[in-house]
Subunit: 377 residues, 2 copies
């Protein structure tokens, strides 16, 4: 028996906002910790504790007020999460999984130790080690920060010694590692849900398309062979099985030109590559995550449309947010616009996304592209 | 060009709540007028002006703050709405439609004048008129209040002179009318959406099942002949075409034992018989209403599952709300629970609903019934 239960989310951005909407549908209250003024989750009715994500007293307060705790971002102090939440409030995914994932070097090590294929990588603590890696990786690699990297921030493509020097200076002694550039034909992603009992439900394999290292588009299902799709789903499912805790996990994969698949990285949370599920799958990734972290059974994950395309609405300028063109965008049939209530607009800031369904990827994509072109933000 | 626009809703109950969730997805802010403490819409992030629905200053405030105005209940002072909103804020549906519909006697007259079939009815202003109607209608009729009736409140079945006397005493001089009891084989309902330009999209015809005059279940699509389905859809569409203003309209119909169809009544708003659309149609009735009243194009209305059943979660007792059994309920595949955050629980109060999808109505219904049985509220 219960009165109204409360979900605590560390982070109140667009993912926290869409989690909040899903939680409300299921009758939960939501509290988020977020440093922003009137953060996206708060705008849709989450109570906000306005504080940095690692603020000890804010997390203690969250722990007191919430029946279940989760995150919308993995760049949090996982040991603090672990210490703060030893009072018995369920934290999902497990802080141990967050800790493992938030350091990309440790994540890669972990995946390798568990027999998952990843691109060759090396720890880089000194410039000499960076040079050694550069040679080892045939003078084509990524220099990456181990922590706090997302949407391309913290990644540098290195193909010349000069680029190596400049990247080294740019990261200025941050914990780094190097990763060999792999030749991939497509980037794939799989959203995987895990419940309290370890049951797993896997969403369709999608293709993700990036520009400037930001996800700009996903296509579901990925236009690859059935064998590739099956292989991608198996790898993603197996990888998530090894991780502790419940919730959604986003598994990013590279389909190499030779046909094999390596894991790029795993996000221990709802993920941009799963936004299409809101209008294209039986259960959205957001409802699924809420079910998973509150001990409810997982919902069905099948597509309810033959094809679905998601296009991100990235900010076009740096200014107060002004949305226009919604009425033109929504003239596309089977097309849905999701806005995050963010202001100001910044160049490349994720302001919303468009989901379009269709009989084929081509028709769905046409609608999504037209809808995006009709809008200005 | 626009910043974040605001939708004002008169009423903040469960319909206002689900409208708020849909409005947030599209990036709108929401303000509701509602007399309740922490009303269901407020719990999910609507700003609440706590006042009676007909409070003039509250409506004036709503009109100042909102870019678009709508209602979740038709029992409002429509002339006040009309006067209050003459400042140019779009009110949808049109106050004239609300006015027409909120008086069931006038609604019936209107439908009849526009050549729609309705059950025979008579105005009743005196007890003598009630007796005359009783005779005229072969001693089997409903005595109904013209206004403020919903979920069976305001209806009395009259089959004996004693019942007539008791109903007359019960309604105590309220504006009444009498309606001949019709022999129907099924109750049907059709949700119809209309946009600013008069474009119409019609949802699948559903069967509604009532107990104690409360809708307890809907089945989509209605298990009737294709001819009946087409006829129901045409009648509903034509009826809504005659009404002014944009938004969702719920058209309730009787399928008579002879096979003909009469209109029971029309709701100028989202409707309980459309809750199945949240998980079973391309666009939910709530998103559709928000699109319609804000001048956005209408979304697709087709079923995304062969069959869908909705079962209301009615309160089982009078007490503080305690929900249990969600984890068991959601073990049913393709089953979704929506809770409204209401407290206290009251007997027959609408506390939430369950949507279940399936290959047939029978399989969908089985899941919905099992899920409902698993829950206690």
């Amino acid at each position: 028996m219960q009165g109204q239960q409360t979900i605590g989310i560390v982070g109140g951005g667009q993912l926290g906002r869409m989690l909040t909407l899903a939680a409300h549908t299921l009758g939960f209250k939501v509290i988020v910790v977020d440093p922003g003024d009137n953060c996206p989750a708060r705008q849709v009715g989450a109570q906000q504790i306005q504080a940095q994500l690692n603020d000890k007293s804010a997390l203690r307060k969250l722990s007191r007020l919430a029946d279940f705790i989760t995150i919308e971002i993995e760049h949090v102090d996982s040991s603090l999460l672990e210490r703060t939440f030893k009072n018995g409030t369920p934290v999902n995914p497990a802080p141990s999984s967050i800790q493992l994932i938030q350091d990309k070097y440790i994540q890669k090590q972990y995946l390798q130790e568990n027999d998952f294929s990843v691109a060759p990588f090396q720890a880089v603590n000194t410039f000499e080690q960076a040079e050694t890696a550069f040679e080892l990786f045939d003078e084509s690699m990524l220099l990456k920060t181990r922590r706090n990297a997302f949407d391309g921030r913290g990644n540098a493509h290195v193909k010349t010694h000069k680029q190596l020097e400049s990247a080294w200076r740019r990261f200025n002694g941050a914990g780094l590692y190097a990763e060999k550039t792999v030749n991939f034909s497509k980037e794939l992603a799989v959203m995987v849900a895990k419940d309290f009992e370890g049951n797993i439900k896997t969403y369709p394999v999608v293709e993700t398309i990036h520009q400037r290292s930001i996800c700009i588009e996903t296509q579901a299902p990925a236009q690859v062979s059935e064998t590739t799709r099956d292989l991608a789903a198996i790898i993603a499912t197996q990888a998530v099985k090894t991780l502790e805790g419940a919730g959604m996990f986003g598994v990013e994969l590279f389909l190499l030109t030779g046909g094999s698949i390596v894991i790029n990285e795993i996000a221990p949370r709802v993920h941009n590559s799963g936004h299409y599920t809101m209008n294209a799958c039986a259960t959205s990734q957001f409802e699924q995550h809420i079910r998973a972290i509150t001990g409810l059974p997982l919902g069905e994950t099948h597509l309810i449309t033959p094809s679905a395309v998601m296009i991100n609405i990235l900010g076009e300028r740096n200014a107060a947010t002004e949305v226009s063109g919604m009425e033109k965008a929504l003239r596309q049939p089977d097309t849905f616009v999701h806005l995050y209530g963010k202001s100001p607009t910044k160049v490349d800031r994720k302001m919303g996304h468009i989901n379009a369904n269709g009989v084929t990827i081509k028709t769905a994509r046409k609608k999504a592209v037209k809808a995006r072109q009709a809008m200005s933000i």
